[in-house]
Symmetry: C2
Subunit: 121 residues, 2 copies
């Protein structure tokens, strides 16, 4: 067992790519991932799992087909499984995602932005 | 589906009790809980689950039988299942816990500090 704190700033300093969350911790079969969001992501859904978004620094929006949620530092939202959503951030926004290991960033949508491999930092 | 951000400050303003985490969100079978820690908690372990501690504001320590982890704002640690631990905070520390629904705060230890009921705020 590794007895050391996981520091978000140290982890964020290790990558710059947008919409490519990196794993920083595991709890049972779930991963905690840090991500930097900027611009428009794509519409997608996760058929088999909810997905938690926690904003650590900045502002973002999650668009739904019939609504939206604005999030800022110190706020979170859980997107229910099967619900189409599209993350957006005008300026770079630092977030934490919590979701089951194996969750693909683009869900069922595929495409160029898909990260098939989940990467630890 | 409820389309609104969950704001940590608004939730923290709703309770003052120490070592009594309150549920603010659910993701699949897991709860996100906010807690205010101050002083010494008790030694305990969770036989069937890991437990994630995320420090939102302040400093705390998790003691283990053979080690310790110091945590401050912007840091996290996942206590592995079955590992005895004792949270401590000199001054009030605001944290988020992530753990399966039904996880009792004192694990297998019981005693006066046990909260049998998980409460939403």
């Amino acid at each position: 067992m590794k007895y050391s704190a996981i520091n978000f700033k140290e982890k964020f300093d290790k990558f710059s790519e947008h919409f490519s969350p990196k794993i920083i911790a595991q709890m049972n079969e779930y991963f905690f991932k840090l991500g930097k969001f900027q611009g428009d992501f794509i519409w997608h859904k996760h058929a088999n799992t909810d997905e938690a978004f926690i904003v650590l620094d900045g502002e973002m929006r999650i668009d739904f087909r019939d609504n939206k949620v604005d999030l800022k530092t110190g706020e979170m939202f859980v997107v229910p499984k099967g619900v189409e959503h599209k993350p957006f951030a005008k300026n770079e926004c630092k977030i934490m995602l919590v979701e089951p290991a194996g969750t693909v960033n683009t869900g069922d949508a595929g495409g160029d932005l898909t990260k098939e491999e989940e990467v630890w930092i």
